[in-house]
Structure formats: C-alpha cells, structure tokens
C-alpha cells in the first residue's frame, strides 16, 4: 500500500527545498464574517511542510470555514494566507490547487453524471496542462496511467466505469480522497473523511493516511478521536471561531478544559 502511494504521488522534494524554510501553511489574523456573524476570528496558525495536524472542535466552531478560507472557496474577510511562502490570499481556488493544495469535502462533492474513472482523470488533468485539449486521451497517456493507479490505490478499480451517483457511500468517500491525491499534492485538507464509514472502512482510511509519503502534510477535521489522534502529530482545538488550544495529541486528550468542552460533550 505504502509503496503504491509513493508511486502514485510523485516526490516533490526539489520543490520543497526550493520553498526553503517557509511553512506549508501560514495564516495571519484570518477573519471570516458572514454578515454580522464572525465564523472565524483572528486565526493565526502555522503548519510545517509534512506536518500532520488535527483540527477539533464542536459543530459551528469554524473548522470547515477555516478550510474554505484556505482553499479560497470563501476568501477571508481579513488576514493573509501563505502557502509555502507565497501569499495566496487573493488567489482563486484553482490557482491554489495548481500549487499543490488539495482538499476533500465533508459532504462528497463529486461529478455524479460521470464515471468513477472520469472523476479521477479530471482530477489528474486539473493539475496538469491540456485542460482545454479537444483530443481524447490515449489509453497509454501518462495521465491515464496516473488515474488508473490512483483508482487502484483507493480500491475503486472494480467500479471504475460506474456512474458516481450509483456508488455506495463508502466508495464515494474513497473517491473523494482519490481526487485529493491527484497530481503532486504538497498539502491536503481532509474534512471529516471518516464520517459515515464502517469500522472496516475507517481502519482502511487510517492506513491510507499513515501511508502517505512523508513530505505530504495535512490537516484533518475529524470527530472520531480513534481516527484523528492516530494519524496526527499535533492538534488545534477550535471554539466559536477561535483557536483556544494547540498541542500534542496526548496533551490535548489530558487537558481538563478540553475534556469539559469537547471530549465530555457527548462525542461519538
């Protein structure tokens, strides 16, 4: 599994060295208002290249809004976002994605009318040249190979010709992850990837996350502590749109304030 993903997700060590000592992600004073409501207030956050971090917090804490600001789905009202040293605050989402940022969505956002393979192929095509090509891809084209390998790595080969709208829920979640691994990701945002998965599918997910190449960092939003704390080295706790605690998983678990606010509060 590990070896396969190493091959599918090419090494970008040279690009990392080019980026120097810059953080993978650097948020400074990011605030996002929805009308008068502050969904995010003054978020300052740094994530090193290759770092794996969980963002925890109750519903409405602003976790998904944080992701939307980072990807540019909803740009921040104020503050700056740097991706590997580059100020991407005013970039449209596709420009950030082309620079190696990826994300999955909490509720699967897939192309229901297209086949599984077409979905993966589009993801591979989106981060390479020839997005406007009018020529059909040849079967031995590099991107077709990459898409086939990614489909295989996520156990989707058996259903690759099925329309996505006909897939089982667990498979849609797998596909969601496959799309985020296309091309050469440098940093991935996983938004509740385990939600609604069976125990078997959850352990598969943990395996996929832990076997990602070491240079790929990620932030994961996850309610399931068993998943979240096994795949990260640091944790950021959010509450009411603010960061109120950061630390190692064991520190966070032991923190009485956290216990009261979040872990004690009837989590799954």
């Amino acid at each position: 599994m590990s070896g396969r993903l190493e091959r599918v997700v090419p090494n970008v060590a040279e690009r990392l060295s080019a980026a120097g000592t810059a953080n993978a992600l650097e948020l400074r004073g990011v605030t996002r208002m929805f009308g008068a409501l502050a969904a995010l207030t003054d978020i300052t956050l740094s994530v090193r290249p290759g770092e794996r971090r969980a963002v925890l917090g109750s519903n409405g804490a602003g976790k998904t809004t944080l992701f939307n600001c980072v990807t540019g789905d909803f740009p921040p009202t104020s503050g700056t976002i740097r991706f590997f040293g580059e100020d991407v605050t005013d970039f449209p989402p596709y420009e950030r994605i082309r620079r190696g940022l990826r994300r999955t969505y909490q509720i699967s956002l897939l192309f229901g009318g297209l086949s599984v393979f077409d979905n993966v192929y589009l993801a591979c095509r989106g981060v390479s040249r020839g997005r406007f090509s009018l020529l059909r891809p040849r079967r031995n084209e590099a991107l077709m190979q990459a898409a086939a390998e990614l489909t295989e790595a996520l156990h989707l080969t058996a259903v690759k010709d099925r329309r996505v709208s006909e897939l089982a829920y667990g498979q849609q979640r797998q596909l969601e992850i496959a799309l985020a691994l296309a091309g050469a990701p440098r940093f991935i945002l996983f938004d509740e990837p385990a939600a609604g998965l069976s125990p078997t599918e959850r352990s598969e997910l943990v395996q996929i996350l832990t076997s990602l190449p070491a240079h790929i960092g990620y932030i994961i939003i996850e309610h399931d502590m068993d998943v979240a704390l096994r795949v990260v080295e640091s944790v950021t706790m959010m509450h009411n749109g603010r960061i109120f605690k950061e630390g190692k998983p064991e520190e966070i678990e032991a923190d009485p304030e956290v216990q009261e606010l979040y872990l004690g509060g009837g989590h799954v």
Partner: protein, 355 residues
C-alpha cells in the same frame, strides 16, 4: 466499457438482460451505436437517388441546418448545464455577415466580397459575438442565463429591425446565394443537400468526440459541480466561455447554410419565435445526446411542412399549424422530460426487461 460492450454484443444476444444490471444499461452500447450511425449515414448519402428535390432541401437540408444550431444549444445545455437562447442569434449574425460582406440584392449595402473571404469573416464575427454573449452569461446560472441570453437575442432582433445603414432594417437582404465553387453550383438541390449533410455530420461527430476529451469532460464536471471543478485546478469561468466559443462556431456554420438555403435574411430570421424554436427542437429531440437536436429538427420541419396540409385536410384552418407543433411539444415534454431520445431509451429498456 466500449470493448466489453462490443464483445458482449457479438458473442451472444442472450447477455442482454444481464446488462440491465450494469451501470450504463440505460445507454445503448457502443457497438450498436456505431452500427446505427453507419446505416443512417449510408442511407442519407444514398437519399438523393430516391428523393425528390423538395425533400432533399426543404425537409432534410433545413433539418440539418436547424439541427446544427440546436446542437450548439445541446452542447451548452446538455454538457455544460447552460441554457443559452442566443444560439439562433449567433446563426443570424453569421447570416447577416454573409449578406453584408458578400453579394445580395441590396447592392447599396453589400460589399460583394468573394465567398472565401466572406465566409471566414462571417464565422469569425458570429463566433466572437457568441463568445462575448457567453462571457456575459457564464457568471449567472439557471433562469438568469436564460434571461440574459434572451435579452441579447431580443436586442439583436430590434437592433436589426431599426438599423437601416448596415442591416437594412425591416426588409433585410434577399438574393443571398450559395457560390459556384470547383465548378459546382452549390445552390442546386443535390450539391446543397450534400453540403449540409457533410457539415451537420461533421459537427455531430465532432461533438461526440469532444464530449470524451479533457475539454468536454471538464465541461460536464463543471455542470455537475462547479465548486469542485475549481478545487481540482480548473478555471470554470474560462472553460465555460470556451464552450460558448465552440458552440457559437457550430451555430455560425449553421447560420451561413441557413442564409444560403433561404436566400434571404431579415430581422425575423433570428426573432424571438425562431430563438424559442431552437430551444423546442433541442428539448423535443433530447439534450442528453448530440443526435437529439437532429431528431428534434426533423420532427419540427416535418410538422412545420405538413401540419398545414393535415389541418386543411381535416377541415380546420391551416393557419393553426403552430398549434399542432405546440401540442406535439407539450405531449413530448409531458411524457418524456428527456425528449424523444428518452422515450426511445425507455422503450428499449422495457423491451430488454421483457425478453
């Protein structure tokens, strides 16, 4: 899928019911498609040996032309999720440009350029017009796209009707004729029939091919989920504008053929009536497949050509032929939201299920 479907169809017809379970059973498989395309193509090539000239030009030629314009709408609506009512206007612009730059009965306005400069210039201007309209419309969705494109179409209609310096106002241009090229008189029925057949066939096959290209797939991706397309690295807005450009080129070719077929162009050519007719044609045929617009166009032209005779024969006033077209449209949309193609697919499924 294509390969699997082909072998399955060849080895045994008994695998039919088994395929119902497969994901794409709702679509006819590729082998059958290729065969049907080949047979229909051959029949159309041989048609002039049996058909009279009226049928060749006024039924088939006209259907191919309207089918091409409706195909450009199908491409935008079916693959791109953008219902553009400006496609007939794009064709109208191309038709006007042929009349203005080339030769017509209005010698005070027409510049009399030869066809080999007139036609490219007409295509270029019409495509640019469609692309700019698209650029205005792509930031909107659904009903607003329809409204913006309809507004552009109406504006063009009223502008051409009131502008006498360039568009010759209410009268428009007459005696706009297809040229003599390579010793062939392209306004003669048989050559003109083949001209429309080849161009309509090429646009149909072109759209079929492009639908599976990265550009076509990305367009369908943007239709299903624009936000996710952006999160995969695609610039959805630019992609959609490019789709308008491609669709406009097809509509523009249709427009050039249209002015040669009718011999004239006037504001009414691209009035609100014809604009809606293109929508009706595409929807009646089915916007899920590039062949739909051509089926819709043939139904429309046949109704349009013969409804009058049928009505008169039934002792009703012939002027009510639009009523018959409207009723036909209503019935098809009522029973099959995905047009005639949808009816056909359902009939096919029920037949497979019964066997």
């Amino acid at each position: 899928m294509a390969v699997a479907g082909e072998t399955a169809a060849r080895t045994s017809p008994a695998v039919g019911p088994a395929r119902v379970a497969s994901a794409r059973a709702s679509e006819p498989d590729w082998a059958t498609r290729h065969r049907v395309r080949l047979i229909v193509g051959l029949l159309l090539i041989l048609l002039p040996t049996v058909s009279n000239e009226f049928f060749l030009v006024q039924v088939f030629g006209w259907s191919f032309v309207l089918g091409m314009i409706a195909l450009s709408l199908m491409f935008l609506a079916g693959y791109g999720g953008m219902v553009s009512l400006v496609q007939m206007t794009v064709a109208g612009v191309a038709a006007y440009m042929v009349a203005i730059f080339g030769e017509s009965g209005i010698q005070t306005i027409s510049l009399g350029w030869p066809w080999w400069t007139t036609v490219p210039v007409a295509l270029l201007i019409a495509t640019a017009f469609g692309t700019i309209s698209g650029a205005l419309a792509v930031r909107t969705a659904g009903i607003y796209t329809i409204m913006i494109t309809l507004a552009i179409a109406s504006a063009f209609f009223y502008f051409t009707r009131q502008n006498y310096a360039i568009f010759n106002g209410f009268t428009g241009f007459n005696s706009v004729l297809a040229p003599h090229v390579f010793g062939v008189d392209w306004r003669a029925p048989v050559p003109f029939y083949y001209l429309t057949l080849v161009l309509a066939g090429a646009s149909y096959l072109g759209i079929v091919y492009i639908s599976r290209s990265p550009f076509g797939l990305a367009l369908q991706g943007a239709r299903d989920n624009a936000r996710r397309m952006s999160a995969l690295g695609f610039n959805v807005i630019v992609h959609r504008i490019a789709a308008y450009a491609l669709a406009s080129l097809i509509a523009a070719v249709g427009g050039v053929l249209m002015v040669w077929l009718n011999g004239q162009v006037s504001p009414g050519t691209a009035g609100v009536g014809p604009v809606i007719d293109i929508l009706v044609i595409a929807v009646v045929g089915g916007i899920g497949d590039p062949i739909g617009p051509f089926i819709g166009a043939i139904i429309y032209v046949i109704l349009r050509t013969f409804a009058l005779d049928v009505l008169v024969a039934a002792g009703l006033p012939g002027a009510r032929f639009q009523l018959l077209i409207g009723l036909g449209f209503l019935l098809i949309v009522l029973f099959s939201p995905d047009g005639v193609l949808g009816l056909w697919a359902r009939w096919r499924r029920s037949r497979v299920a019964a066997s």
